[in-house]
């Protein structure tokens, strides 16, 4: 082996292990958004000048770990680990009621591990099939963003409201970006917009808390009651392998959902998870089999859609053409001055598809190898500790700090002002009519082409 290859492998495994250890801890805290945690961490790794194999491995291992560990609060506490865990709450709650939270956890984590191992090669393979259309896609970026964005808006919880908001919201975002350009010059902001949208719900709740007329809607009677699942024999001896936990049919469903999510890489990830869950529940008979099969396939989908939504557009086009690529994985596509999309100068140009496949597979294997035994052994005691010791105030303090630091880094004081304004506007529309973050980000990205086409100038 050449020295270069050994170095690259060391970067890949080192970055993947670091991401895994960080996101095992973050993943245990319920409701920690992937966009607000994985994107900033990846951005720092990119900006520090780590080689492309390290940034790719860091991001993929972070995603893999977050979506294995999000099963812990979901199964043990009945609180979603993040938005992607919401579809799994109901079947998890039923197994919890039967006294089987550990089974829910094991099925989710095993489904996730199997999907991870399959999804990197499947996504890269599908991307190389799409790559010949790359030149076409690159010359039609504007209209493609507009069409994909409108479709995403339609599939968001807001439906027609989101479609109606697509252009007006883009105009507002362009106006805010214009304000930043006027102060700073240059092409404007990206990270500040993404973080503002990701933390929108926090801004809206904070504003409501400050308003005497709105506060009553947030007031609660007392401390929140959380029922911790009973102690069950959570593997103390030899751990079963993830694939031996699943039945043949469950493995088959995991494989199918992995292939489907590679092909549907521009769809909303949470929507796909709900869809796969309801299809599985309809096809499998018997409560126990139904619940365990749907949990394993749903968490498989939450992993494989994420991996596909990052790798397919990255390998095929180098353009962030999916909801996850536009939010959680944006720093792999666009992180000035290191990576950029106009012209494309990022992982797409720096690594061959084969390299992406190899480093990607190694990083998810590293993530699984570290996460799986830890989750299986310490899930219950770790969740109990988090619930008793980690205050929501501390989590929100960190999010507020990250927003200010990253947007100040990107755009100075006006960057912070833009991020807060985006958070208020986006958060309000998200909460009020279900115009979700993916649709908002697409609207922002499509807006410059839409506006120059509709209103001229440019």
């Amino acid at each position: 082996m050449s020295v270069d290859l050994v170095q690259s492998l060391a970067w890949c495994l080192g970055a993947a292990s670091l991401a895994t250890l960080m996101f095992i801890i973050i993943g245990l805290i319920p409701g920690t958004s992937e966009t607000a945690t994985i994107a900033p961490a990846t951005l720092v790794v990119v900006l520090l000048g780590c080689p492309p194999e390290a940034t790719l491995s860091f991001c993929l291992a972070a995603v893999a770990t977050k979506h294995l560990v999000h099963a812990v609060p979901t199964a043990i506490l009945g609180l979603p680990g993040d938005n992607m865990a919401i579809p799994m709450l109901e079947p998890s709650a039923k197994l919890r009621a039967l006294g089987l939270p550990h089974v829910a956890l094991q099925k989710m984590v095993s489904g996730g591990v199997v999907a991870l191992l399959l999804s990197v090669p499947i996504s890269v393979g599908f991307a190389t099939l799409l790559a010949p259309f790359g030149a076409f896609v690159k010359s039609w970026v504007g209209p493609i963003f507009a069409v994909v964005g409108l479709a995403l808006a339609f599939t968001s919880p807001g439906r027609w409201a989101s479609v109606a908001l697509f252009l007006p919201y883009g105009v507002i975002m362009q106006a805010l970006n214009g304000a930043a350009v006027k102060v700073n010059g240059g092409p404007g902001l990206t990270i500040s917009f993404m973080l503002g949208m990701a933390l929108g719900p926090m801004f809206v709740d904070l504003l409501m808390a400050l308003s005497p007329t709105a506060r009553a809607r947030l007031t609660v009677d007392g401390p929140r009651r959380i029922w911790l699942a009973p102690e069950a024999k959570m593997w103390s001896g030899r751990l079963p392998t993830p694939w031996s936990v699943l039945t043949v049919r469950q493995l088959l469903y995991v494989l199918l959902s992995t292939i489907v999510s590679a092909v549907t890489f521009t769809f909303t990830a949470i929507g796909m998870t709900f869809l796969v869950g309801s299809v599985t529940q309809a096809r499998v008979k018997g409560l126990y089999n139904k619940l365990t099969t749907s949990l394993s396939t749903m968490n498989a989908t939450s992993e494989s859609t994420y991996i596909a939504e990052i790798l397919v557009p990255l390998v095929a086009f180098g353009l962030p053409l999916s909801p996850i690529a536009l939010t959680v994985a944006l720093p792999l596509f666009n992180a000035p001055p290191v990576y950029g999309t106009a012209p494309v100068n990022n992982i797409h140009t720096l690594l061959t598809p084969l390299q992406v496949g190899v480093y990607g597979t190694l990083s998810v294997i590293a993530a699984c190898a570290l996460t799986y035994p830890l989750v299986m052994r310490y899930a219950r005691s770790a969740s109990a500790w988090v619930m008793r010791n980690v205050a929501q105030e501390a989590v929100l303090a960190m999010f507020a700090g990250l927003l200010v630091v990253l947007s100040f880094y990107e755009g100075g004081a006006i960057g912070v002002a833009v991020a807060v304004s985006v958070g208020i506007a986006g958060g309000a529309l998200n909460k009020l009519v279900g115009f979700n973050i993916a649709a908002q980000m697409m609207s922002y990205f499509a807006a410059s082409w839409l506006m120059s086409t509709l209103f001229g100038g440019g």
Partner: protein
């Protein structure tokens, strides 16, 4: 703040104390920004020849460190507003429980006949197989 009545609010899906939250959020923002600016100033003074973009990146790492420090400090001072209960809320009749979870005796009986042996073995190991069998037989003699 002991004498004042605590005002608990639900912010982003969890319970917080409003004054504590406002101080925490402002503190997180201030500490993060201060750490970023301090790191930037210190690095600029030290290494004149390093690329400006790399200096900013190291400073960003410092800023993120400030955010994590803020979270740890808040975590040490502010306690969570949660009650963690471990007792199961009245484990009623297991058969009633299955019905409340949306199981249907007829469907379960047919399902048990076609369920693969591996799943049956899994259910036996978890000691819920007998429960499901009893539940599915319950439909032969429906309760009035």
């Amino acid at each position: 703040m002991a004498s004042r009545e605590r005002r608990l609010l639900n912010i982003w899906d969890d319970t917080v104390d409003l004054p504590a939250l406002l101080v925490s959020v402002a503190g997180g923002a201030a500490l993060g920004l201060a750490a970023y600016k301090l790191a930037l100033a210190a690095l600029m003074a030290r290494q004149g020849e390093t690329a400006a973009s790399l200096i900013k990146a190291y400073a960003l790492l410092g800023g993120v460190g400030g955010c994590v420090l803020a979270a740890v400090l808040v975590g040490l001072v502010v306690k969570p507003k949660r009650i963690v209960e471990t007792a199961q809320a009245s484990a009623a009749d297991q058969i009633d429980l299955l019905a409340s979870l949306g199981a249907d005796p007829d469907e379960e009986r047919r399902a048990l006949e076609t369920t693969p042996p591996k799943v049956i073995a899994e259910m036996q190991q978890l000691k819920i197989h007998d429960l499901f069998v009893a539940f599915s037989r319950g439909s032969d003699a429906p309760k009035p």
